[in-house]
């Protein structure tokens, strides 16, 4: 059901994601639902997340590309009001990767961590590294 009438745009994007993946990013559609993607983003080098593998689930709603992909709890304007149909899965994932390189504590998901980041960035970075090692080491 979910795979019938898959818009050409989604098929094309998927093909391109698979044939020319963006560095540090892998996204592959689920076999039983082509609108559902398993995503892995490598923590960017020289960021606290370096060495981490971040798994995400991405879902393309019915209205895609006129509506943004659904991507769990990530504060990113292009996933919300700044979505544009000219953006793609690839650009979204690249944006997330960039977000890992340059977190934005002014628009946080967690207030506490943002506070921590603002008050003592070095310590926050250490925590991030620690958590990356603990929870995102790809094991």
């Amino acid at each position: 059901m979910a795979n019938s009438n898959l818009p050409r745009r989604i098929i094309k994007e998927t093909q391109r994601l698979l044939s020319e993946p963006a560095p540090g990013i892998s996204a592959s559609p689920s076999e039983d639902n082509m609108r559902y993607f398993n995503v892995m983003i490598l923590g960017p080098t020289q960021s606290p997340y370096e060495g981490g593998v971040f798994k995400l689930e991405l879902f393309l709603p019915e209205e895609y590309p006129m509506a943004a992909p659904k991507l769990g709890r990530i504060c990113l304007d292009i996933l919300k009001d700044k979505w544009s149909p000219a953006l793609q899965i690839r650009t979204v994932l690249l944006s997330i990767q960039a977000l890992l390189s340059a977190p934005n504590p002014d628009d946080p998901l967690s207030e506490n961590i943002a506070k921590h980041w603002k008050s003592n960035e070095a310590e926050a970075v250490e925590t991030a590294k620690e958590w990356t090692r603990l929870y995102a080491s790809g094991a």
Binding site: R9, K12, K82, S84, A86
Partner: protein, 1069 residues
């Protein structure tokens, strides 16, 4: 719904004052007049003498809930119907209308018992809602042991609840605490108050009583006539039952959702009410002339001399190749003319009388056209009006009820509908299908009909035309016609639209609906052939078309398109009383009526919903792909009972699909009286052809490729063959149909001109590109007072302009496909127009998806489309062999001034042709799919009227149907099409009525050179292949021939499948 909706509350308020002698319709009407002010409505009712509106009494048995004027719902909710009935005096009760009848139905678990109680009280008084239908014996089966029932004992009936119902509170104080068993079975049980359950009634009774009782359409009472003294299981108990029908059913029209209607009637041919009548032993005093039984009769002739060809036709129509979708070959699986004639039959029409057209028609009609006029006039007349009004419609039968009030009820034997108003033959179809083959002048015959009988819808009736709530009737499957006789229509979704129209229909003239491409032609033909001043004409088309009924109703003839029709029917914002559906037309004519062939399409539904006294279908192809196509036409025409899908399906469609020839025979017998079809080969009484056209000479011109072309062709062929052979090896030919067609396409284009294959992505000088660049660089500069930052950067614009100059295709950032109808934003971004507009919330402005600048629709520029050719075709111009031959032919014709049409299926080839035409000073115009309607009309006019213009370049499929190009007497078909019928159609545009000169048709085929042929023959000898030789075009000729065989021969699905593979192999051998 809208604000105009009368609420139940208002309704019951008014009802409580005025009492039950006013119907709900009256109250609705009053409320509308009073602008929904209840007080004002009451005053209107009391102040207007004879306010009461004599309603049409009609009911569909599919109405699923029914009411009498009953007690307030508050009582019912807790007490159950019978309790209330007992506790209230009847007259009081009758004055109060329940606002929630549905509750009544649902909350009466003991409906059998309560019905009985109620009958006891209410059956006697005159004016009661319940009419006594009849009384009969019924053999009940005992389900108990040891209980007793005596003759004369009253029995009560218990009907199972609908499955899925939550049970209402059990009836207190009645039925001894008996609760209806929550069963979904269809068993109807009976019991007495004293003993409890006694037995069950026979299934055949239960089956028809159950839905009717549930919907409160009938009720039943009974007593025991005879029973064994000591009951045992399965003993027979003789009951005497009386059945009453709820007269309110005939007054109220309930909106039924499509789903219900579909489930209960559309797909089924079981109708409870007629069955019940039969069980009661009621005999119609007037029988239906035409019954389902007739249709099953084995008497219909079975053998036919053309048996085998029909069978072949059957097979052909049936075979749909599942593996191919949307390929170009598939599009042509339409029926050939010969098959069509086999199916629908060519009428022995030569005996028809002729009728002279009125003097206001300013052209001569040929004898066969005069025959058509006579035939159409006759069909429109139907029977003489008085006779028609007093003759029972053949699908209906009439019953006397046993009620003392001498009531008569009419039942439709096909649909099961019931009504108390006389269903006369007036409601029958008046009109038919004019199915003359293309080119015989259906348009002019229709114009003659228009002139011969101009009129206004509904005016011939003695009744006032204004009748409120007609559309409610339509919802119930009935349409009112001029004399307030229920007219039947089929039920559609989307009919709730009509609910909104609460006012009367305005009477209008004739409405012609045609494809957009023929709009101009209809107008032109009417203006040319009709004496000025003899009729008023109005073209209802375009955004600014007036919506009010008056404008439409004023004109004698209104022309509109299927598009307008559909959009007005489904329009969300339809004002009350507007557009095509607010008018009762005198006559509706569907041109190219096969447009409505698929019965579920919006077009078909919309067309069928039109209200008209006379209906016509014009089509040269009443069946295009499927027998089902006819169903839509019959439904539109109101040919009963074939507008009911259930009957059509059961008696025609299914038998047909199963190979039972009776299906086809039945269609033929249905069509015979209502369809007129002549072909160019039809003859008149003396055996002479009805239409003598100047002779047409069809010639094939074989062109030989030049050396250079041949090299190119060979290279391309080899490359394609490698790919094809791969598919063959993998056994995946049919799975790669599209790719194969693409390969073939290239080869075929190569035969026209190698440039076509080199096309895609390229250059042309845009004189205005620089202007474009300047505009971008200035950008919004001027507009918004020098905001330089809004303008895109110089470098970027340069890049875009270069891209455009190079004709780089690029892709749309939204659909990721090559641009389609690309637009440039002021910020110099390129997107498909559709994609961009779809990304906006409103239609006038939005953000640029690429850079998020706010842009408005007016600022969009249509991106210049680059030339399709990679090389500068002007500079490097070379004639292909076909072009050389064509130019030679045209040069020969030049001195005679004889006009020609040059057809190609590729507009790119038309592009190419323009170069030598211009160079050789051959004046031409061009018609292809990119032109708007006005542009098309202009081109056709120019070509027809300007004697200097010698050539019309036309894309094979652009012209659409019906275009008349008789100014030309030569046709050059530059490339073969898969199906010869499409070519034939194109050519028919010049070889048709009105053509006075000899016609020459030349088809171009590229022939392999001698050497090549020799090699092929050699190959054939070695490999044993003999059929496939020559260029792709020559092989296509073979495929065409094969296709013809396939259509007329009896091939099974499997054979057709393998034939396809063979066909492809043939092209690549």
């Amino acid at each position: 719904m809208g604000k105009n909706k009368v609420t139940d509350e208002q309704l019951s308020t008014v009802r409580s004052i005025v009492g039950s002698e006013y119907t709900e319709m009256d109250i609705y009407r009053a409320l509308h007049l009073a602008n929904n002010d209840a007080t004002a409505a009451i005053n209107i009712i009391f102040d207007t003498p004879n306010f009461k509106f004599k309603e049409r009494l009609s009911v569909g048995t599919r109405s699923n809930s029914q009411v009498s004027h009953r007690s307030p719902s508050s009582d019912i909710g807790t007490g159950g119907g019978s309790l209330v009935a007992k506790s209230k005096p009847i007259d009081a009760e009758d004055k109060i209308c329940s606002g929630s009848e549905a509750k009544v139905a649902d909350s009466a678990p003991n409906s059998g018992g309560y019905t009985l109680e109620e009958v006891g009280e209410r059956s006697s008084p005159a004016g009661s809602d319940w009419w006594f239908v009849g009384c009969s014996e019924m053999a009940g089966l005992s389900t108990c042991k040891g209980r007793t029932i005596n003759a004369g004992d009253q029995v009560l009936f218990k009907f199972p609840l609908k499955s899925g119902h939550t049970m209402a509170s059990p009836a207190k104080g009645f039925g001894r605490g008996r609760q209806a068993a929550a069963t979904c079975s269809e068993i109807v049980r009976f019991y007495t108050e004293e003993t409890g359950e006694i037995g069950r009634i026979p299934n055949e009774w239960a089956r028809c009583l159950l839905p009717l009782v549930r919907d409160k359409k009938v009720k039943i009472e009974g007593h025991c006539k005879f029973a064994p003294t000591n009951l045992g299981i399965m003993d027979t108990i003789l009951l005497s039952v009386s059945v009453f029908i709820n007269s309110a059913m005939f007054r109220r029209h309930h909106q039924v959702s499509l789903k219900d209607a579909t489930n209960s009637t559309d797909e089924s041919v079981f109708h409870p009410l007629p069955t019940l009548f039969r069980l009661l032993g009621l005999n119609p005093f007037k029988k239906a002339e035409f019954t389902p039984g007739d249709l099953y009769s084995k008497k219909r002739p079975f053998n036919q001399k053309d048996n085998s060809s029909l069978q072949a036709t059957l097979l052909h129509i049936k075979s749909k190749d599942p593996s191919v979708n949307d390929s170009e070959i598939d599009n042509d699986d339409s029926i050939s003319e010969v098959d069509l004639d086999n199916i629908v039959g060519v009428g022995a029409s030569s005996e028809l009388e002729e009728m002279d057209p009125p003097g206001s028609l300013q052209c001569e009609l040929r004898p066969y056209q005069k025959q058509a006029l006579h035939w159409m006039i006759q069909l429109e007349k139907g029977r003489p009006r008085d006779e028609a009004a007093t003759t029972l419609h053949p699908c209906w039968e009439a019953y006397h009820l046993a009620d003392k009030r001498e009531l008569v009820v009419y039942l439709n034997v096909f649909s099961g509908e019931a009504t108390t108003e006389f269903p006369s033959t007036l409601q029958m179809a008046r009109g038919g299908i004019l199915a003359d083959a293309m080119g015989l002048g259906k348009t002019i015959m229709t114009i003659a009909l228009l002139l011969a009988h101009l009129g206004r819808g509904g005016l011939s009736s003695s009744q006032p035309v204004a009748q409120p709530f007609t559309e409610d009737g339509e919802l119930n499957g009935t349409v009112q016609n001029s004399s307030k006789i229920p007219k039947k229509a089929t039920k559609f979704s989307g009919f709730d639209k009509l609910m909104k129209q609460k006012s009367a229909l305005t009477s209008g003239g004739s409405l012609i609906i045609c494809p957009m491409t023929l709009l101009g032609q209809w107008k032109a033909e009417i203006e040319t052939h009709v004496q000025p001043g003899s009729l008023s004409l109005y073209v209802h088309y375009g955004q600014s078309r007036p919506k009010d009924a008056k404008t439409l109703a004023q004109s004698d003839v209104v022309i509109t398109t299927y598009g307008v029709l559909t959009s007005e029917f489904f329009s969300e914002n339809a004002e009350d009383n507007s557009g095509l559906f607010s008018i009762r037309w005198f006559r509706v004519v569907l041109d190219e009526a096969h447009t409505i062939k698929s019965s579920k399409s919006q077009i078909s539904i919309a067309a069928t919903a039109l209200v008209a006294d006379r209906r016509w279908c014009l089509t040269g192809t009443p069946i295009q792909n499927n027998l089902e196509d006819i169903y839509s036409l019959l439904r539109f025409l109101r040919i009963e009972p074939w507008g009911h899908w259930a009957w059509w399906n059961k008696l025609i469609q299914k038998p047909f699909e199963e190979g039972d020839e009776r299906g086809l025979k039945l269609v033929q017998s249905i069509l015979k009286p209502i369809m007129l079809r002549r072909t160019k080969h039809s003859t008149d009484r003396e055996g002479k052809p009805i239409l003598v056209l100047p002779p047409a000479d069809v010639q094939i011109i074989y062109c030989e490729l030049t050396e250079a072309e041949k090299d190119f062709y060979q290279a391309l062929f080899k490359r394609s063959k490698v790919k094809f052979d791969q598919f063959v090896e993998q056994g995946r030919i049919l799975h790669n149909y599209a790719s194969i067609l693409e390969l073939l396409l290239r080869l075929r284009q190569c035969c026209d001109h190698p440039f076509l294959v080199m096309s895609r992505g390229d250059t042309q000088e845009f004189s205005d590109l620089n202007k474009l660049a300047k505009r971008f660089l200035k950008g919004t500069h001027n507009a918004s007072g020098g905001e330089a930052k809004d303008a895109p950067s110089r470098a970027y614009v340069q890049e875009v302009v270069e891209e455009l100059q190079k004709g780089e295709q690029g892709e749309c950032p939204i659909c990721l496909e090559a641009f389609e109808d690309a637009v440039l934003t002021p910020c110099a971004h390129r997107l498909c127009r559709e994609c961009l507009l779809a990304s906006w919330r409103n239609s006038t402005s939005g953000l640029c998806p690429v850079c998020r600048k706010t842009i408005s629709r007016q600022d969009l520029l249509t991106a210049p489309t680059g030339s399709r050719f990679q090389i500068d075709i002007e500079k490097n111009w070379v004639e292909s062999c076909k072009i050389t031959v064509l130019l030679h032919e045209l040069e020969n014709l030049r001195s005679s001034g004889s006009k020609s049409i040059v057809f190609s299926q590729w507009t790119a080839f038309l592009d190419l042709l323009q170069i030598p035409f211009t160079r050789n000073n051959i004046p031409f115009v061009r018609l292809d799919g990119t032109l708007s309607q006005q542009q098309r009309e202009k081109v056709i006019r120019q070509f027809s009227e300007d004697s200097d213009i010698l050539v019309l370049l036309m894309s094979l499929k652009a012209g659409g149907v019906g275009i008349n190009l008789t100014a030309a007497s030569n046709a050059f078909v530059m490339d073969p099409w898969w199906n010869p019928a499409v070519e034939e159609q194109a050519v028919m545009r010049i070889h048709r009525i009105g053509q006075t000169k000899n016609v020459a048709i030349k088809r171009f085929i590229v022939k392999a050179t001698r050497l090549e042929e020799f090699l092929h023959r050699l190959q054939g000898i070695w490999l044993g292949t003999s059929e496939a030789r020559g260029t792709v075009e020559e092989r296509m000729e073979a495929v065409q021939a094969r296709k013809q065989r396939m259509i007329s021969g009896a091939l099974t699905d499997q054979e057709v499948r393998s034939a396809r593979i063979e066909e492809l192999k043939m092209l690549f051998t």
